[in-house]
């Protein structure tokens, strides 16, 4: 069976979580979640994660696991102590999928268009994004790279802070803002340009930079060092273990192979 683009993205997400620290890894959605588990089981054993509810587990919970498939808990991290233990102490790295992202790394999960009193489209609300953004590292996974997500100008509502100098209150401490990677179905990006500008650092097999630029509403920096690596055999086996029911096959449209043009 050929390696899928979803599996390549999982490895790229795992790479985003790479750390020597003991922090909570939160991957929201199948691909970031499997990526966090893969990071913990390979290069980053210090990572801590929950069972999706309130308990810390030392073996990542396979997606959809029930009963005996679920690992026994090793620790406790309920919502009721999440801010003091994880978020506000900076001991967390979250990978999320916001609805909009702009060139400053500001994201929107709140609402689209209209006004604050009457939005055109009401979404989830800011959730924990403002706190995540000011206190701990964050990455993003975008399953369909497009100018509707990577918008020109600013996002409609700024739910999480980025590197926008126009949104700085003098005397405020913005030192905790630490945006790491954006993994999409086309490429991997980081914030390593001048003033944290967004750069493309690797292209998925068969993708060219111009294609990424065309799918982005703002100018990108070409810092491509090569192709995003394909998963190795050990990684593929772990991915299968973390997702035995194949939820990863349902994330990207038509579940394409990692190497475009291959079948």
């Amino acid at each position: 069976m050929s390696i899928t683009l979803a599996e390549l993205c999982i490895v790229a997400c795992a790479e985003a979580f790479r750390t020597s620290r003991e922090i909570i890894a939160t991957g929201i959605g199948p691909i970031p979640r499997i990526g966090a588990g893969l990071a913990k089981l390979t290069h980053s054993p210090g990572l801590m994660m929950t069972d999706g509810e309130a308990f810390l587990v030392e073996q990542p919970v396979p997606l959809g696991a029930t009963g005996d498939e679920r690992p026994t808990p090793a620790g406790y991290l309920p919502f009721s102590r999440f801010f003091d233990s994880a978020v506000w102490s900076g001991r967390r790295h979250a990978m999320v999928t916001p609805t909009q992202i702009d060139r400053f790394g500001q994201t929107n999960l709140s609402a689209l268009g209209g006004t604050h009193t009457r939005p055109k489209v009401q979404m989830l609300g800011a959730r924990g994004f403002p706190g995540n953004g000011i206190y701990h590292p964050n990455s993003m996974f975008i399953p369909a790279h497009s100018p509707r997500v990577f918008v020109g100008g600013e996002v409609d509502r700024v739910s999480s802070p980025g590197y926008n100098p126009a949104r700085r209150v003098p005397g405020g401490n913005y030192g905790g803002i630490d945006l790491r990677r954006i993994v999409t179905d086309l490429c991997v990006m980081d914030f390593g340009g001048p003033d944290h500008a967004i750069r493309v650092v690797s292209l998925h097999p068969g993708v060219i930079f111009a294609q990424v630029q065309d799918a982005t509403g703002f100018e990108l920096i070409d810092a491509v060092e090569g192709e995003t690596p394909l998963p190795g055999e050990e990684q593929l086996a772990l991915i299968e273990r973390l997702d035995p029911r194949g939820f990863r096959a349902r994330v990207l449209k038509d579940n394409p192979p990692a190497e475009r043009g291959a079948s």
Partner: protein
Amino acid sequence: MPTIDKTMDAAAVVSRLRSGMTLGIGGWGPRRKPMALVREILRSDLTDLTLVSYGGPDVGMLCAAGKVKKLVFAFVSLDEIPLEPWFRKSREAGVIEVLELDEGMFQWGLKAAAFSVPFLPTRVGLGTDLLELGGLKTVTSPYDDGEVLVAIPALKLDAALIHVHRADRRGNVQALGPDTYYDEWFAKAAAECFVSCEELVDAMEASYPQDVRANLFERCFVTGVAKTPGGAHPTTMPPAYGWDMGWLKKYAAAAKDPGGWNAVAEWAVGASEADYLASVGGQEGVAALPLPVF
């Protein structure tokens, strides 16, 4: 020996509330919500409410019924149905005021109210739209660092509504699930706190002394106790029962119907709690709902 008895029924709880009040609702999204008390509000004439909630169907239903003047929220979600459709409808019609907060800011505001201070400082909100849209102010540290911080105003509640597994007549409560969310702080932020429970016992020390660590907050924070078995339905109440996702899907789909809320309320609220419970399979049916898998 004189004793304390705080028991009352759900209707008595609602009779203690007034239109225009600020109500805090415990739980989190579609998890351990005091839905029997919410349904009782929906059967009442109460209106013009300000809700403070980590929102789930409680918020959606009260918005749909036109009971809400203002909502203080960080999200409104049914988990597997990420966006609460009735809440969206109210927002997109522009009929409710909102104060949108971050989840951490929200609990910080409850804690400020609990501690009787006007605000608590944080960095959260800096660099986002929440400050300007919410009219949130900053404060400068009086110490050498001079840091400028966001002042989260105290979220003072006229009343808090919370659902737990067990309570006794004096107001000793036990919540058994893996997570208690921020219910403790809703109780402490409120002038009065009303607790609904699955099981009411005479004296906790006689019935469940081995589980006292599940006592979420002390009984001095409890004004009234109402027995409402199945009272979290359709939300999840671990370990007793799970959410009723079939019910929630039907409720969510109904937001697309042209008929509006009144037709939905007939089955989603019911004429009485007994009618409602019977319509969802009775206590046995609720108890058989499987716990969600995360």
